[in-house]
Each structure stands twice: as C-alpha cells, then as structure tokens.
Symmetry: D3
Subunit: 323 residues, 6 copies
C-alpha cells in the first residue's frame, strides 16, 4: 500500500505535540465492549423545551471542547492519559414524535446501565427534560436514587399545560411514582425564576430546596455535605443533575435561561470535585447548554472541564478504567 | 381623567410623521368580525423541522418588518392606507405534542376560511410542514386546489423515517388523498437539493416540476402563465406555497436551507405581483424563514414586502377591504 | 361573535403555564388612574450622549426582559402577583431638538409625581443626561433630595464644551442651583475614568465621593448605611441614580462605557435590596444600557431583576399596590 | 538621531509592496493649501436621523476602506498614484445642539468651496440631513444647482413633526427657497418606502421622480442622460446626492433603511462613471451608511470604490490634480 | 457483542432519510488504494497571507458544507450516489516554518498525482499561495500546464518584499521557470485591486488578462471558449485556479479580499460546468475562503456546490469512478 | 494660510472636554529622542501560534483602548497628564519568514533597551512566542533576569514538533542557555491546560510553579511577595510576562485559549500594582489577546488599564518622565 508523506486524514488534529495529550482523546467510541468507570452518552433532545433551544447541539459541542483541554491535572499531579472515558455516542431522536424520543432516552440509558454495572454514565443533554428518563433508568439499574439537582429552577411544573417538557422532569418522576419527593434535593434555586405554586408543591412532596441565599449564607460545600448525608439515609446511590443555569449569566452565557444572581463557576467546580469523591455518586447529567447562543462555547468549555474534574476525582476514588 | 403631555404608551411608535403611514398599521387584530380580502395568520411551528429551526419566530418578525414599510406604492400610485389586512393572530402550538400542533393548524385555518368565505388568508410559517394542514383546510373551504409551490426542494419525502416534517407536506397531501399529483406545480427546484427517489415519485404522481434551469431558459413569468393555465383546467382555485429558500442565498440569507443557484428577489416579486392579479389565486403561505439566522431580518423584510405587493395587486383586482 | 379554537392574539405569550406568572405581567399600562407604589417611566433619550449610544432602546428592552422573570421570590417566599407596577409608558422625544427632549423629561416626570404623591417612579433611561430633569422633577414634588449615585464616573463635566450631555447631569443640577453638592453622594467612582478637574469640582462643591477602593476596603453595605445616615440629616427623601457602568464589564457588558475594576452584580443587588427597605428612598433611575452593544441583553436582564428586587422590598416596607 | 531597524510608526501599514499603492494614500490631509480637483470632507452627523443611526461613523470607515483598494484601474489602464484627493477632514459636530451642527456643515462647506473654486468636494455623511447644508453651500459657491438624487425615498417630509432630519433635506431646500422643485431629479424611488402626501408634494413642486420601475423599463444610463440634459437647461452645475439605500439590501447591507426591490451595485457604479465624465458635475455627497450595522463594511467598501471611480473619470475629463 | 437500540456513533448524522443521500457521503477517505476520477486534497495554509486569514480552515468547512447538498442533479437527472470522490485528507502544515509547509504541498500533490495518473485532484486552499506548489506538481505529473485563473487579482507580486505569499504564486511559477507567461490566462481582474507594475509584468511575460469589463462585454462563456482554444495550442492539460474573490462581495462574503464589481455566482457556476466538460481540464484548486469571516458559510457552500457541479460534468465526460 | 472653522483632521477625537485627558494622549510617538520611564513597543507576531490567532492585532487595539481611559487616578489622586509614555511603534514583521520576524523582535528590543537605559519597555504581543526574544533582549541590556510569568500554561513545549511557537518561549530561553530554570517563576498554571512531560521538565530545570490552587490557598499578593524575594537573591532585575489567559474566561474573553478556573481581573490588577512598586521590576510584556475573538475589546481594555496602573505606580516609585 502506498503512503504519502504529510497526508493526514481529514478531521484529525492539524498539529500534534508529543508532550500534550488532548482530553478529547480519552473518549473511546463504544464498540460493544464491557464498560467500567466514567462514560458519556448524548441525549440530544431540545424540541421539548418551552422556549426555542439548540441544546440538542451540546453533546457534540462538549466533545469538541474536550479537545481544548489536556489530560494532565497539575493540582493533583495526575495525568489521565492512561484512562479512558467511554463514549456511547448519541441516542437517536425522532424528528417529530417527541414522546418516542423521550422513551428512547430512557430505554437506551437503561440498557447501557443494565449491561454495564460498573459504568458511571454522564448523560449530556439536551434540555432538562432528558433527566426524567435518565433518572428513571438510573434507579432501575442502580437502586433507589438520591438526586442532587443544581438548578435555578424547580423544574416541577405541571405536565397538563405543555406535556413533558424541560420544565417538568422532576414533577414527572414524582407523579409517575418513580421517586418520592424526599429523594430530591435542589440547590441554587433563585428569585423570580419560579412559581409559588411549585414551591408549595415541592414542600408538599418533601423536596429539599436550598436557594442561592442559602448558598451565600452557608457555603456550597457545607450544603453538599448535608445533602449527601441526608440522601444516604434513604437512598442507595446519588445522581447529580446539573442544569448549567444554576450559574450566574457572567459564567454560563450559553444557557437558554440566563440571569443574574447565580453561582460562580469556581464554586461549582469545587462542589463537583467534592461530590465526585463520594462513593455514593454513581450518575450525572449536564443539561441546558445552547451552543447557538453561547459566546465562544464558554459554557460547553466549562461542561467539558467539569467532566474532566469529575473523572479525575472519580478515578482517584475508584481507580478508573485504564486502556 | 388626567393626561400628561408627551407620554405615549410603551411599545407605540417613537415618532409619527403625518405624511407617512406604516404598512404594519394596516394590520387589524381580528376581534370576531366578518373578514374580507387579504388576511394573515401565524402558524409558528418549526419543531417539525428536520434540522434545528427558529422559523416559528417568523410570523412575529414579519409583522415587525411591516413597520419598516409604508402604505404607498409609487409604481401604482396607490395608497393602501384605507385598506385593512386582518391579522387573525397566531395558532397556539403545543409544547411537546407536534401532531396536536399540526391538527390545530389545519382546524384553525379551516375554521377561519369556513367562516370567512371572502378572506384570502396568507399563512405565515413556521416551516414548510404547516402547508400540509393549510392546503387541506384551503381545499375543504375553497374547492379543489391547484398549488404553485416556489421551492428549491420537492418536499415529497417519505413520512416513515421522521413523521410529518418540513420535508413531507406535499407527500402527505398526496398520500392522504387530499390532492392528486396533477394539482401540484413546483417551481425553482434545484440541483443537489433533492433525492432522485422523490423525483421519481413526483413523476409517478403527475406532479409538474420546473427547475431553476427551466426558469433560466423560459423566464419565470412565462412558466407562471403556463402553470396557471394548466391548473385552471382541473382545479377551482390556486394556492401559492412560497418557501423562501427558492431564492438564492444572496437574497434570502435567513432561510434554514440556504444555497447558491437560486432565484433573485426581483424575479420573485414580479412573479407574485403577476399571480396576485389572477382571480383564481385565493390562498398563500410564506414559510422557512428563521429570524435567528438572518442578517438584519432581510428575509422577513422581503416577506413583508411580498405581502404588501400581493395585497396591492389583489386589491386592484378585487377592490380590497377598506376601513 | 365567532371564536376559533387555539387562535391567540399576535404578540401574546406563545405558552402559558398555570403555575408561573411573568414579572412583565405586573406592568399595568397607565390609563389615567391614581397611582401608588412602584411605577416605571421611560426616558428614551441618548442622542445627548458624548459617544454613540443606543441607550434610548433600553426602556423597551427592560420591559421585555421582565418577561423572562417570574413574580415569585423564593428568598422572601413572596409572590408579587397580586401587586402591580404602573407603566407610565415612554416620554416622547423630539427627533432633532434635544433641549426640548430634556424639557419634556423634566415636565412629564414632574407632572407624574405631582399628580401621584404616593408613586415611587423608576425612570428608565436613556443615558445619564436624563437624571438632570428626573432629579429636578423629584425634588419639586418630593421635597429636598438626597442623591445616591452609583457610577464609575462623576458626571460633573462642564456644560460649555458640549451642552447638557450624559457627562453633565449632576453639574447641571448644582450649577442651576437645583441641588447643593452636599446633597450628592457618589459611589463606585473608578480610576482612569474621570478628570482631576472634576474631582476638584466635587470637593469644592461638597460632593461626597466613595471610590471602588473605598468599597473594597469598607464594603458596599457599610458605605450605603453611612450615606443614608448622612443624607437624612439635610434632605427629605433619597433618590437613587443607578448608572449601570458602576459594574465591572464582566457583569454589565452592555454599558456604553464598559471597563474593568468595577462592582460585581451580587453586591449591587444586595445594595439595592437594602436601600429599598429604607423609608426615605422615594425615587430611582436606571441608565446607560445600550441594548445594541449588549450580549443576550444581560445588562437589561439585570436591570429588570433590580426593578423586581426593589419592588419586592419596597412593598415589604410600604405594603405595595395590589390589583 | 538614533534609528532602530524594523521599527515602524504605530498605525502605519504593516506591509508595503513596492508594486502596489493603496488608494487611501491618495488622500492628502489638507494643510491650508489651495485645492483643485476631487476632495472629501466628512459631515459626521447622524443624531438627526429619525431612527437610531451610526452613520456619523462612516467618513472614517470609508477612509479606512480606501486602504483596501489600490490606485490602479485596469479597465482604463490608468494609475492614479500621481494624483491626490484632498482630505479636508471632518466638520466638528456639537454634542447636543444639532441645529448648530447643521449650521457648521453649511458654513464649513461654503468656506471650503468658496476658497477653492476648482475643488469638487465629495461630502461624506452622516445621514441624509447633511445634504441640506451641503447643497446650499454648493449653490452659493458654484451657481444654480441641479440635483440628481439617488434614493429609495423622497426625503421630502414636513419639518414640523421632527425638525430638520434625515427625512427632510430636499423639503428644507425647497421651503427655504434655496432651490425650486425643478432643480431636483430623484432616481430609484421605491414602493412602500414613501408617503403619498410627499409624492403629491413632489409633483406640486415640479420635482422629477424616476422610480425603480422606471429604471427597470428604461435603464439607468438612459434616465441619467435624460436627467443631465434636463437639468442643464435651467441650472449651472450638477450635484449628485447619493443615498446608498437606493441599492437593494443584497448590495448595501449597511444602510439604516435597507429593503428589497432596489438597484444593483454594478448599475450604480456604471451610472457614477458616466456622470463623472460630464463637465457639469461639480459636487457630490454619499450618505446613509451605518458601519455598526454593515457586514464586513461592504457598504463603505462600495462607497470607497465609487469615490475612486468618480475620481478616475473626473480626472480623465479635467486632468486631475497631481502631486 | 451487545448492541443497544437507537445509539448512534457521535458525529454521525442525526437523521437519515432513505431517499436522500448527502453529497458529503461521496467523499471516501483515501486508504492507499488506486484512485481515478475526481479527488480532493486539503492544503490548509494561510499563514502565508499578506493580511490575517483563516483560509486554512476552509478544507474542513467545505467538506462539512458538502453535507448540506444531496447527490442528485435534477437538471441532468443524474444521481451521483454510485460515484465516489476520493478524499486524500489534508497536507500537514508546519507550525512555524512556512517554506517547509509550501514544500510539503508541492511534494504531497506531486506524489498523489504521480501515483494516481487518472485522478483529477481539486486542491482546497488555504490561500492562493498554495497554487504555486499545486501547479508545479500538476505539470510535473500531467504535462505542460495551461492555467485558467479566476481572480480579481493578478497574484503576480514580487517575492522580495514578503517572500512567497498569497500575492505571488504565478510570479513564482514564471520566475522559477515552471511556466512561461503564455501558459496563464487570468479572468475577472478588477479595478483598484492591482498594481500597474504587475500589469506591465503580465504583459511583458505574455500573460493573457481578461478583466471584469471584458466579461461584461463578451460574456464569460465566450471568453472561456477562447481561453481553452488558446491554451490547447501550446499546452497539454488545463488547470483551473479558482480564487473565490473573483466573485462580487454580495455572492462571496467570506473571501479575505472582498469588494464590489465582481462576478455573480450563477455565471461562475455556468463557467465551471462548461469547463468540466472539456477533456483537457485535469486539475483545479479552490482558494481564499476564510470561514471565520463568512456569513453562514455561504462561500464554502458555493465551493462545495462547485465541486459537485464539476464532478457531475467531469463524470459525464469520463464516466466517473463508481463504488 | 487659510483656516476654516470647525474643520478637524480626520482621525482626531470628535469631541474634546477641557477637563478630561485621554490616557491614549500620554503616548508620544518616538522620534529618535532619549527615553526614560515607561514605554511601549508592539511585537505584532501571531503566525507563530499553534492555533489560528489574530493576536498580532492587539498592539493597535490596546493603543485604541487607551483612548477609552482618562489620565486621572482617583484612588491615588494623581493625574498622569504631565507624564509621557513613549510609543516606539511596532516592529515590522516579515510576511512569510517567521524566524526572521522573531529575530527582528529580539534585535529591535535589544537596540531600544541598549540605547535607552532608563526605559522600562512594555512589549505588546502578539502571541507568547514574542517573549523569547523580548526576555533575551532584556537580559542582554538589563542584567540577569528574574521572570514572573502569569499564565495558565507552562509554555515549555519542545521545539522539535513545531519550531519556536507560542507554546515554547520559556523552553527556548532555557535550552538556548539564556536563562536557568531558577530564574523563572510561573503563576496561575491551571488543570487540564498542560502536559505532565512539561511539568517534569519544569521541575527538572528548577522552575518554580504556582498553580491556581496555590493562589486560592495563599493569595496572589503573598505569592508575589515570595516570588520577588526569591528572584532577588539570584537575579538583577525582574521581568513580568503577562499572558492574559491567566485570567478566567469570564474576565478575558478575548484570549485564544480561554477556559474556566482562572484568575479574576481584580486580583490581577492588584498584583500588577504591587509589582510596579518594586524597584527591581524593569520590563514587561502583555500577550495573547486576539481582538477578532474578543467581546467589545474587553481584554484589550483590561490590558490598557493594566498599562496605566503599572505606569501610575512605576512613576510613584521612580518619578516618571514628564513632558
């Protein structure tokens, strides 16, 4: 076979430095093998959003942004190069049947986690509607779920007005009997971003709500410690549902529902680092990034960075999956 | 009651010139009255698009752009100020049930045209999927329809792969027995924008197809004359379905599926002016403008201008509806 | 009268959730009635700006951004739904006579506050030049004014070089004898954003100046406490003049004169919350937001949020105006 | 004096090619000397615009765009390198007194043309309001003016509603007795861009109006020939007033009032080339380019190109001014 | 091996329609096999540009834009689905040694064409500097070259001032003795875009130059016919060098050196279609598209469309390469 | 000589206020005179960047942004109006020979600092590759250098893979024997932004590395104090190399390599203020700002502000250079 010097495949990196590995290269396309440790799966659904959203584009954008990071953590003096993050690819969405799309998200994530007992899947939305199926699949395969939801919003809207949308995932889980309200802790809920009716609903159902004011008073790490302790009493495993709009608009300019008065990115990163070290944390989703609205993919960059920090500390705790 | 000098209602025009009336002011919000002549109705559905689309935002954008035109045609020396264009408002879409949304488009447009026999409704999409319901409603209320479709694409895709989407409206109409293929004439079909399978389907069904090459050879007006004559032989009334992507990307930068090799805007305007004068033309839609992708709302501006030209020549022919 | 299912008026909300009320819906267009409590009035003047400015577009943009917030404060567990914020609309500006425009701002705001003794008017600029008329109108109707000005700049420029511009409002007030310098406290003044000559002028006139360095040393709340105490000694009521460029460019990217070294948004929100509770605070303006320069209306979003927080705490103190 | 190799003054061209001269280098900053031939002067006034406009930024942008052209016309095989275009700089505008600004435009242009009898001044707006002063100054110094106005709009609005704005310059000239209507020929007037009242006014005053329809029927060059002949009968010299919005939005995306149905750029260039050869043409303005709205300064690029073509053919006719 | 329903590989098409094949799927990544017919190779070099350019990004963008076209030509009633276009990938550029990069372009293209005698390679720039190496490689492997260069510029600058840049490729070819001036025909050369010195050089060297004025007088097809006839007399094969800035800025907004007065896209497409049918045409490059400056990748879309039209007519003439 | 009222030179400030001096006016174009105190020199090289970069545009953008600041520090109550900052202009770069460009940077900066012993030159990149030449020139003319590098990255990559790029400047300095590793202190190094191999190299060479974690633990000022003390023990003078990407993406959105987890701008400003007061600090560079990617030139604004703060405190320490 002929070879021609200097030809490289289209789409490959234009420059390679022997001393730098790209975080994106940790992603190994799943090919049917048994998976352990951190994995990602795209749930590119955002037609379910109440407002116009391009969040279905974020799985691919987050993967691309992983190419802008390296594999080496200087703070932990750890090179993740020998580890892999399995990429299960994206779940194919139906063009016009959104309920079918939601069913596919549930069933694909259930199959994945059923077949891969030691995988910790990070589901990349899409909008927050994907969490309903993702969490149901998590519980069916991982045992009784305790949820820590980072969010400016309850996402506890009624499903009569618009069906199962990005405003309703946790309402669906409760109303469908998948979870009881005490399995859910919400962190970062913000002024003028929610309805009183749904706060009443949260209280009635036993959902724990920590507002931005609580975070400012008590500190995020302290609230997380309390939340993990509380959830461990009644649940088997913890699932993190990260709606990026928990962040202030200055730090996450690409969320559909941006606003002032939110969390800063440093605190969120610290929180995720801390949570990743807890043995009970076994699943996660990252939702509500619309790359068509973002500035220089800042919000997807942050998501990619959070995936790396989560994996770093998860691997410290569990040993990780090496090549 | 008190009044305070110089206070004006929020949202009203910041400046009024006694000698200039804005085209947008011709729009009279429908309040239950009997309607004659040109009217508009928004069908803000674009979740049915195969690719990400903000076309549901175009009814409101086109209305806004009508504020950038005046009511006076110097070419015809006609001031349309005394006429009205009824604005039926927008059909409310369901957040997650897209089939319900499509049903609503059909039923609302049927009700409108059923109750207002002398109204000529211009449906503002939305994506091209709205034409399926719009044309069915037209035929049920206006008699056997002949369709002149301006488009770069057949929009005759199968409905199995993705359901009733913006690629399938004319396929749906044929397969559901609403129309026979010979009721449909397509104008502006372009290279590398369609599948051979669907060209075969068009031929099999008796659809008439005029390509961009045909337009360049024969001239648009000549093809339109031929098309109107042909349709009149077997149908009662003519419906224009205007997919703005029939235009070249230089003239319609805000269509989701832009490309080179299309029509120029001057020719399209002339074509619409000519068609508006024919007594058989009784309905129209304007679809596939995504204001989030456009440059300075150029494509919506053109749509608003086309509404004005259509109304001008329609009123010349029919007398129009005065205040 | 006929009705047609699913038709909604153009411009109305595309989706309504029974459990969420939009903050924008608190706005009630003034129709001549007696007004109490918080009200807004637009002063869309920015041709008076030294540099090119689209700040006249911000009243309408801020109103629009109020639609992106709900009526419920979770921190205070208060739903503002039963309250109203009166919208006096915008003061009509002259196209070419800017002095006439400034006179209209003064006279309209004087008439409003004269006729509505219990109204607390938030004037939405426009550029900072509008504050000259707004404050004069406030004092004529509300008694001797004490001003807390949030600003990176003195806005004490001479009026000979360019007339009454967005650089001169407080100079005008002092030179025209409307206020004495000791009625004015400036907070957030920044390095390399002002002239020494005008600092000298501030000192000569007895204006109190707190720089960004002072805020970093003493804390904003402590300086505000001191400022309110100081102003109460010699004035009847306090007026807040909020130039959004007091914020760092990372938090207010849409101000004409952005720069580093400014306040963060959280501190500003806290400051406004605290001030709104003080019975002496009876008027406010929010100026210098140019929506044509902003990113995703971040700065107008923040302004809308500040209006909501101000109203929340004002209503707590005064009872507010209910429907 | 020391010199250091490779240091070049900040702001100078980063690269110089011995075989390419930049058109921008033809501009010679006026320093009090006697001027002959083509000259430019900036009238950076756009606060007089009815809608928000950054057209005051266009003189500087057009100068910058001249740097993107070379001095050599291959069609005429003429290198303009030996010629100069005098740059009189910009007329300083008042920050808040717009009438003062308009007076300054008139008096500066009168002084320039009074002192430089053989100069052909191209005034760079600014908005179209600058033409009122510019044309008055032209007539006072060059004799009875005949005007060929390229425009989508009459610009004959009344001055009561908004004062002397960008909608009124030709009305002002007629009402103030500076010109009689028969001195004015308008070319390119467009549908739905004007009021009937002002068409009536044009007719009453004897203004000649050629619409876009006329251009399409008769051809631009033929209309220009007719116009020049007609004006020569009653006037001494011809002044071209070029509102760039005479062009279709596809060719001049940076005009404040863009729209479809306008002229293409090739035709306009041909028209200007033809006019520049006529000995009666002695003055010109180029107005209504807003660089803040443009795409890649396309519209200013075209303006710069038109200046070069005008100068090329002017110099062919008159010999030009060499260095 | 396990499979999971609905999972698709990341990066694959989110929706597949059985009746539409994407043009991008014709691209087959080269894997060492013998190649016949049309092929592409990326030469992503633009650091050699005189002005800042992101043209190195265009090979990947053009490939992506091929995904927005289908494989079916309705004008020719030909589905190209059974054909392949070989994608040789990109030539790897050195980060800092631009001369090394240029050498690699030459040697890789020479190797490709040497090993694949029946391949017609379309080189995707990069800036126009890549044509120097590309044409040298073409001649070494395909015999004496005749060049038809579509361009607004000569690209005959001297190489002393800035080295071998995007302004010098044809100068290099002549000065290095690779070609004689009579092997080169330039089409579309434009006013104020070139230096007289280089026109003199072109004449001295026997280069044939057709300006935009010539095209407007004689028609593009007629000039192309003449050019092919002329080149055939002294050369073996014809190479097309397509600098996209031959187009008017309205049709190719993404070229680094945009300007008015250029070709329209319809004429260019027709010209390429005509040339592709001539048996002497055996090579091509497409250069000077900067995706970072473009609007919605319009210019890369046009390039992709031209590749498809070229391949369509090439395959008609030669039979093409089927799967 | 004639003068004409209100004419001002093109390019001059459109408005002048007698009480405000612009920081940009402190810049005095060097004309061969002896220079003392703070000076700037542009090194507009970014073709050496591994990724596409427009950083060569930042010297001119930073100069422009100095026009948006005034000369007066209210915190220090100091007007810098009487001082000058010498502007040596830009070093001319070669179009295609990047090694020649790098040599010119070294030699011009050496000549400048050799001829001007009391000048403190701030080199404005360009990318970080310019620091290699800049630091070598500093040491040759100012004695043994101690470097404080603010950076997210080591910039210690090998030079074999891509030559001397923006990833290699400090590696070059060490490998070429210009400095020993203990002369270099890196501050702000971040997770997933570097390779382990280069951390090993840093350790092997005795480079001191302070990560973002270190800054969060110890405080920036404390680390700077320690760093200055450490460097003073073995070096003569301190050079600050400021890669703006040490900042978090929220504060420096215009760096090529943005990311989360970085420094805030307030801390950086404080750090520079502190360092400017130390007598050992004698040189500086500011690199890696790409104005084509920035939002409203925020990052260049910050750079200009830092130049002003540095000069303010330098002048306090040294007396500065007055006019």
């Amino acid at each position: 076979m002929q070879t021609i010097p200097f030809l490289r495949k289209s789409g490959s990196a234009p420059f390679t430095d022997r001393g730098i590995k790209k975080a994106g290269q940790l992603l190994r396309q799943w090919a049917g093998e048994e998976v352990k440790g951190v994995a990602i799966a795209g749930a590119p659904l955002s037609k379910t959003s109440i407002s116009h959203s391009g969040a279905h584009l974020s799985p691919q954008t987050i993967r691309m942004m992983m190419q802008s990071f390296s594999t080496y953590s200087i703070e932990e003096e750890t090179d993740m190069w020998d580890y892999i993050i399995t990429d299960f690819g994206d779940i194919e969405m139906h063009v016009t049947d959104l309920f079918e799309s939601q069913t596919r998200i549930f069933s694909a994530l259930r199959d994945i986690q059923d077949q891969h007992k030691d995988a910790v899947v990070i589901t990349l939305g899409g909008d927050h509607s994907v969490s309903a199926g993702a969490i149901k699949a998590f519980q069916e395969t991982r045992g009784r779920v305790g949820i820590i939801q980072f969010d400016a919003h309850f996402d506890l809207r009624n499903t009569e007005d618009g069906g199962p949308s990005n405003g309703t995932p946790f309402r669906q889980l409760i109303e469908n009997g998948v979870i009881h309200g005490n399995q859910l802790i919400q962190i970062g809920i913000r002024d003028f971003s929610n309805g009183r009716l749904y706060h009443d609903y949260a209280k009635d159902q036993g959902v724990t709500v920590h507002t931005m004011g609580d975070i400012k008073r008590d500190g995020l790490l302290s609230l997380l410690q309390k939340s993990v302790d509380q959830l461990k009493q009644t649940t088997d495993n913890i699932y993190l549902s990260l709606d990026m709009d928990v962040l202030d608009q200055a730090y996450a300019p690409g969320c559909p529902a941006i606003g002032p008065g939110g969390l800063d990115s440093h605190s969120l990163i610290e929180g995720i680092q801390w949570l990743a070290q807890d043995p009970s944390v076994k699943g996660m989703d990252i939702v509500e990034i619309d790359p068509t609205l973002d500035f220089r993919n800042m919000t997807s960059r942050l998501a990619a960075y959070i995936i790396m920090q989560f994996t770093l500390f998860y691997n410290k705790r569990e040993g990780g999956t090496t090549k």
